[in-house]
Symmetry: C3
Subunit: 137 residues, 3 copies
């Protein structure tokens, strides 16, 4: 079976956000075994898997990514959309636009401490579109 | 259905290159719903999704990646193939070797501003091999 | 066909480790054409593809990742599990938790120099769980 759906996430502020409950709510009955493919249709936000318990991890990931790709480098040419724009493109290449998550026994087979993150790299990113594709049997 | 094909990209210079038209040309009729898997068979180049409109994004991504993994660190041991080689390995771990792109209505379901990038991290990388696998129905 | 299995890797020290033979040993007969999905069920380790020949690449990737996400930043708040913990979360977002590898002619279709890496970012990570899902025909 294959099942596909395009959703829009709520508008979230710049930073790393746990969206596991939101994604699970959007999914219909899942196969016994399979894969959930997630794909974000944007170039200045990303998807990631990380710690679902302590919110300070989300804060610290923001610190780490701001160090990795600083704003206002004099070498940047793509600057007309604001100082957060080009760094957002760079950060989204680092996280990537997609996730694959195994489905086992009709559920997402995440580890105990794993959650799904929206990585919002723009100051005002708006509602992000994500395509969910489920394959399995 | 499943469909698989190994292609060789043209030889491209060091940097980030839009290859969406090239990939679309290589694909036969796509399923109504499915996934395109892309996998590059190299360890010093990568694949990514990013902005398809302003070429200055490609320039700035090159700037960002050269800052992330500088050449000529005294700590590097893998140096016999030139100063661009080990940084290319590091950068390719950051981008990753693969992409998954949803297929919807017989077309790649990319966002308005999204294009497929070859990330060529070597000075003279040559023609890169990519395996395309389409699954769907 | 779809085939799924959860395995535990041996306990490996902090760093980048080639695990291709270990993964191949765990896989049953593979389809003629398909995809192997690998997913690590942890938030402080990752999976990657890189050079399978010269072990100095593994050393240098460790150097590169330690520069990318340094320990002991005063801005970090998630510090109770030790100085290696928060950087490990950051590094695992950079590598990602998953791989897709094409299967062709009943074998993993890796490039000549490509191997599968466990990226162990904790000082004492223990035995890591990985879900293998094979799809194909």
């Amino acid at each position: 079976m294959i099942y596909q759906k395009e959703i829009r996430l709520p508008s979230l502020q710049r930073g790393f956000h746990l969206i596991t409950p939101y994604i699970e709510k959007e999914l219909d009955a899942l196969p016994e075994q399979g894969i959930l493919h997630m794909f974000i249709k944007h170039t200045s936000a990303g998807l990631a898997i990380n710690e679902n318990a302590d919110p300070s991890v989300q804060h610290d990931l923001d610190v780490i990514f701001n160090h990795l790709v600083p704003e206002n480098r004099t070498e940047y040419r793509h600057t007309t959309e604001g100082p957060d724009d080009m760094p957002a493109h760079g950060k989204s290449v680092l996280t990537g636009p997609s996730l694959i998550i195994p489905i086992t026994g009709g559920r997402l087979n995440l580890g105990t401490w794993q959650g799904i993150y929206l990585c919002e790299f723009r100051n005002h990113g708006g509602r992000r579109k994500v395509v969910l594709t489920v394959q399995g049997e």
